[in-house]
């Protein structure tokens, strides 16, 4: 493969190995060893799912978006409303949330995925804010500023009660993450996943070889909607309160940061990013939230400045000169 045309790792396929068991062993270890961290652990798992969704469109499809919280929030509100008005049974709530978020992804993606770059960034920002404002103003249903409360969830499979410590919630979220991860891996390793990466690397070539680019992107966007909707639903069912912050630009930004921290377009990127971000945030929030924000800002700036490789390249050039002599 010509690495000057495509980055060398663009088409790396994932193969199973013993290391793939690590996240799940870790997840169960937390459950048995760190009882006090189950609430935080559940949030981490939920955010991993939301990041996977963003990683699908951003990392694999190369679609830059500033409004990804819309999917998450819609999923959360749908699951919350489902539990209040339809049935407190959690599994059907998951499906309902995923379906509505996916539908939103399909409808908005049908228009959005024709746009590129700056226009797309601004449109996703606007769509995200429009959904936020819609939920804010439709307070008779969503609770507006006060949030949606009074969500009660029936025992999982009719057996496991959602307890105060969050043991059921944690394992429930971990189970959903496991299934979502398997599906996600299947999708990104499929021919569809390859085509998506092709779009990311060179959209014009994909068009020229007859790949239906817009269709691929809309499909990915719809799938991302379903996945983030699942994350939102888990959030609503385990926290049992849904606030406007689940639709906020802040969440969109945080998801973006987590995906970037973990590595854009990497299968385990969301795991790494969400775990680091949320654990450090949790520690720092106890210490000082302002310092945390300052630090994360500096990390973001540095991550971009260092990836320019100017220093490393200069060092490399210098080395070449030396070796030539």
């Amino acid at each position: 493969m010509n690495t000057s045309v495509l980055p060398g790792d663009s088409f790396n396929q994932h193969h199973w190995s013993i290391w793939d068991a690590l996240p799940w062993v870790l997840g169960l270890a937390v459950f048995y060893l760190f009882d006090g961290y189950l609430a935080l652990g559940t949030i981490v798992i939920i955010m991993i799912i939301a990041c996977m969704s963003l990683n699908l469109v951003l990392g694999y499809g190369g679609v830059e978006t500033l409004g990804h919280a819309a999917f998450f929030g819609i999923g959360a509100y749908v699951a919350g409303l489902w539990a209040i008005h339809v049935t407190p049974e959690p599994i059907t709530g998951l499906f309902a949330a995923a379906a509505v978020s996916a539908l939103f992804g399909l409808l908005s993606g049908y228009f959005l995925m024709r746009m590129r770059s700056l226009t797309l960034l601004m449109l996703t920002l606007a769509v995200g804010m429009a959904v936020y404002e819609f939920a804010n103003k439709w307070s008779s249903v969503t609770g507006g500023d006060d949030g949606l409360s009074g969500i009660s969830v029936a025992p999982l499979f009719g057996v496991f009660e959602f307890d105060l410590v969050g043991r059921t919630g944690y394992l429930y979220a971990l189970g959903v993450l496991f299934i979502v991860f398997l599906l996600f891996r299947a999708v990104v390793c499929s021919p569809f996943g390859l085509a998506l990466r092709g779009v990311r690397e060179n959209i014009w070539r994909m068009k020229l070889i007859g790949s239906p680019v817009t269709l691929r992107l809309v499909t990915a966007y719809t799938l991302a909607g379903a996945i983030a909707g699942l994350g939102g639903a888990l959030y609503a069912q385990t926290i049992q309160v849904v606030g406007l912050d689940s639709l906020s630009f802040e969440l969109s930004g945080n998801l973006l940061i987590m995906v970037v921290l973990g590595g854009v377009g990497r299968l385990y990127g969301p795991f790494v990013g969400a775990i680091i971000f949320l654990l450090v945030q949790d520690r720092a929030a106890a210490f000082s939230p302002q310092h945390w924000m300052f630090a994360i800002g500096i990390v973001l700036i540095l991550s971009v400045k260092l990836s320019e490789n100017t220093l490393i390249q200069k060092a490399g050039h210098g080395l070449k000169k030396w070796t030539m002599w």
């Binding site: 770059s117 700056l118 804010m129 429009a130 802040e250 310092h291 924000m293 500096i298 700036i301 991550s303």
Partner: protein, 292 residues
């Protein structure tokens, strides 16, 4: 009845225009950076916020007068913009949009955190001098003197921008550099310096808007992200890189928003997002923008 309605509309129009002019001053720099330098600058409203806080600090902590603090905020933020352009932005002009988003988001977070550490989370207003406070009565409607002052100052700034771009030699160079940077370099125009200057002045203008408009948009740490969306809406409706478009979009948005909150308070800001989405679907380059 008829006169009453006229008075209401007159008052709303006046407030809408004042709001729109502030939006214009804040957004003008963003339109320039996004339109001509193709940089997604999520930290732009951070500069407006920094300008507002500098003015506040100069007046409240150092006891400077309003008429000195505002120009000082403009100049200091210009300098800050120039320094940050050299240190941070210059490297990302040719990077992917994702990197631009990440870096400028990081910068916005640093600005928010710094302001929060220095000034705390409380909301600040600028103390307007007594000559500018109070109301004058026009058609039986009490108009705020300060907002009349806002409209006047913003109009003068707008005229200055127009004069600079359309009537000066430097403005011509700037247009050349924007239209075709390569060719401009060939005829000896220092495009990099021109662009950094433009960036710095854009930051300064945002600071001016942030300081003057603190009465309408109170200073708080999350200012940087809170008003970013509205600035982005202004420049994308107006068309990236078009000063005229930014002005018209800002005025329209200010008026629509003011009327919207008065007459249809249930819809609120939703109307504005809807208009933006509609405009961008029909004309992705904005109303006055040129196709990239």
């Amino acid at each position: 009845m008829g006169f009453k309605l006229f008075q209401t509309i007159f008052a709303l129009l006046f407030n809408g225009i004042a709001y729109g002019m502030i939006l214009f001053i804040i957004s003008a720099g963003l339109s320039v950076t996004m339109g001509t330098m193709r940089v997604v600058n999520l930290a732009h409203c951070g500069f407006a916020m920094v300008g507002g806080y500098i003015a506040y600090a100069l007046m409240d902590r150092l006891g400077l007068s309003f008429s000195l603090a505002i120009p000082a905020a403009f100049v200091l933020t210009c300098l800050l913009g120039a320094v940050l352009e050299y240190l941070l932005y210059r490297g990302i002009y040719r990077q992917t949009e994702l990197k631009q988003v990440i870096m400028t988001l990081g910068l916005a977070l640093v600005m928010i955190a710094s302001v929060n550490l220095l000034f705390g989370a409380s909301v600040y207003n600028l103390n307007v001098p007594s000559t500018l406070s109070g109301n004058v009565e026009v058609f039986g409607v009490g108009l705020s003197v300060y907002r009349i002052f806002l409209i006047l100052v913003s109009s003068i700034v707008g005229l200055l921008i127009w004069y600079f771009v359309e009537r000066t030699y430097l403005g011509k160079k700037l247009k050349a550099a924007v239209d075709n940077p390569g060719m401009a370099r060939c005829v000896g125009i220092n495009v990099d310096v021109l662009f950094s200057g433009m960036f710095a002045v854009g930051c300064g203008l945002a600071a001016l808007g942030g300081a003057l408009g603190a009465e309408l948009m109170p200073l708080q740490p999350f200012y940087a992200l809170k008003y970013l969306v509205i600035a982005v809406i202004v420049v994308s409706i107006g068309g990236l890189g078009s000063i005229k478009g930014t002005l018209l979009a800002a005025l329209a948005l200010g008026v629509v928003d003011t009327f919207g909150t008065y007459f249809f308070s249930d819809i609120g800001a939703f109307l504005i997002y809807f208009i933006m989405i509609l405009v961008l679907f029909i004309r992705p380059q904005g109303l006055f923008g040129r196709r990239a």
